[in-house]
Subunit: 152 residues, 2 copies
């Protein structure tokens, strides 16, 4: 099975509750570099409801976009450097400097959500990523992130 | 003990994982209208680490600001209408239209976080709130939110 971008984060940077493989309690979001974008799929458990039952709470939407955006930035940076995650070079890890989320409509719960990240621009250690979260083909939230490469 | 803004949300809007009193699994964030601002205090459990242990993951920071911002919008609206939460009028509940979070520095874990919300503007059903999250007196994240009043 193909490994996710997060599976190649440095060990000491793999404890994120949202996506770290070394956090036993977390969500373990897995993001994959596709041809032109980075994609992830995630189905929030029923308890992560928003104010109204049957919809995902806003914090979960932001959390998924945040982790996926940082992974997207790493994926696009590997590609820009003609590298592959897991190669002999230093692992690439980004952190979030800024995240904006637009909640377009309520996100249904119990449905697999599709997260996508698209590269807006890459400038040195700064990467801007455009994000979206969709359920059953309908976009429920959009995001934009500025991510910063962690120095080794 | 003084009840929080979230404790007065309508029953059918009180299931939020982040702050709903009717969600048995959630964080139960409690926000209080002070003289000029809305404040909340919350200490994330150790498991909510970011990539690096000993710091809070970005999704939790966004989640706390999101719930606190929506409560702040409700608090400011009660005040603008010369009302009090729990009075005889219809309960006020906002949802998030847009949230931007700037991560200024890592947020330490195991420390009580102070959330503040300040009113930027209030225009019909739309309320803009400026948010901050501080640990030990140091601001770790800033936020801005556009919240929309839920129609009954």
């Amino acid at each position: 099975m193909k490994k996710a971008i997060q599976d190649y984060y440095p060990e000491n940077f793999s404890h994120c509750y949202g996506c770290g493989k070394n956090n036993p309690d977390g969500h373990h979001l897995k993001s994959y570099l596709d041809s032109e974008e980075v994609v992830a799929r995630f189905t929030p458990a029923a308890k992560y409801t928003g104010g109204v039952p049957n919809h995902v709470y806003g914090g979960m939407v932001a959390s998924l976009l945040d982790c996926h955006g940082a992974a997207s930035a790493a994926g696009f940076t590997y590609r820009a450097q003609n590298r592959e995650p897991g190669d002999d070079g230093a692992p690439i890890r980004f952190v979030t400097a800024s995240l904006k989320v637009d909640y377009l409509r309520p996100t249904p719960i119990g449905v697999e959500l599709l997260l996508t990240g698209k590269l807006r621009s890459l400038e040195g250690r700064k990467v801007w990523v455009d994000l979206s979260l969709a359920a059953d083909g309908v976009t429920c939230a959009k995001g934009e992130m500025l991510a910063i490469l962690v120095r080794e």
